[in-house]
Symmetry: C2
Subunit: 187 residues, 2 copies
Amino acid sequence: MNARVRGEERRAEIVRAALEVIAERGYRGASLAAVAERVGLTQQGLMHHFPTKDALLVAVLQERDRWDAVPDSRWRVDLLAALVEYNAMRPGIVQTFSALLGESVTDDHPARAFFSERYTRVRASMAEMLRSEYGDRLPNGLTPERTAPLLVAVMDGLQYQWLLDPASVDMPGAFRDFLRLLGERPD
Amino acid sequence: MNARVRGEERRAEIVRAALEVIAERGYRGASLAAVAERVGLTQQGLMHHFPTKDALLVAVLQERDRWDAVPDSRWRVDLLAALVEYNAMRPGIVQTFSALLGESVTDDHPARAFFSERYTRVRASMAEMLRSEYGDRLPNGLTPERTAPLLVAVMDGLQYQWLLDPASVDMPGAFRDFLRLLGERPD
DNA sequence: ATTATCTATAGATCTATAGATAATGC
DNA sequence: ATTATCTATAGATCTATAGATAATGC
């Protein structure tokens, strides 16, 4: 096990700790010292691996991109429902990214460009998925392009309601309800 | 004009400034000094009117409650569409509360209970509205109670997409699309 | 007397830089 | 030589408290 590998493992450890601290306090509220403590380092020790706080955030966001790395053309509606189901089992991660999304709309937030570009991409990807499953019109008459933002909005919006009151909100069930609302698929 | 009135106006001024600063930096990132500066006060001068930072947040949240103070039984679907249209004309306010909602899911956030209770109330209110407009079943077969969280989720989720990229997201149009998705109203 | 505001300041943080020390790997 | 980590510390903040000063209102 050489130094390069050990360094990468250390960085991965730090990113995991950062995900936790961001879930608890948001990005602006997350201190490097709190992240460092969680992996048994001093704040300055952590900064050997990530030279600035923003560099650590970049690593966190790249981690997120790695997860939903289903190739665009492979998405299917039932896969999406399964993702929501899966998310309901990991509130910590959902909380991290819901907190980051919320913060990202504030001025000059370092994650703003990331989320802005990500949503453009995700909407396009969802539209493509809808077209491949429903064709150019959904049963209710909407086009895939106009349905995509709604699909994304429901997923995000449900996450907030669920995080605030998990006992009262059946996130996966509600998402399936939304899919029913799109109408029966023609296959 | 007596002192009591002048004091209340000053406090209202401070709350307006706080709304702006929270939109720009979130609550945790909003400093009392930044709010104070905007109304021509020192930070300590501001604290004469709001003894703690949390007290100021409480005032901000009460302000929000005052706005959508449509009596529960008076909501109608087309009024809701008009509200979304109106919101599209005031990105600042939308940004304030989207940032606050995002932060509120982090641990021990002072606005957490507020949002949690608010969503319980709003879901109930929306279900009541849907029932009065559609009856016990919507055209697509869902109950008002199961539709309400979706309605709320779409409104919130669209706000994030719109704030991040106003040119690409037609928030009021998308919301009307969602209403079409609920099916024709039977009146 | 009450209300509004200010100056001074305590006490906690926070990020980032500088530079020392130890361990690892060619 | 490079990598990982530490101590020390600069320089900015931040919230909150204490107490002075001026203006307002009975």
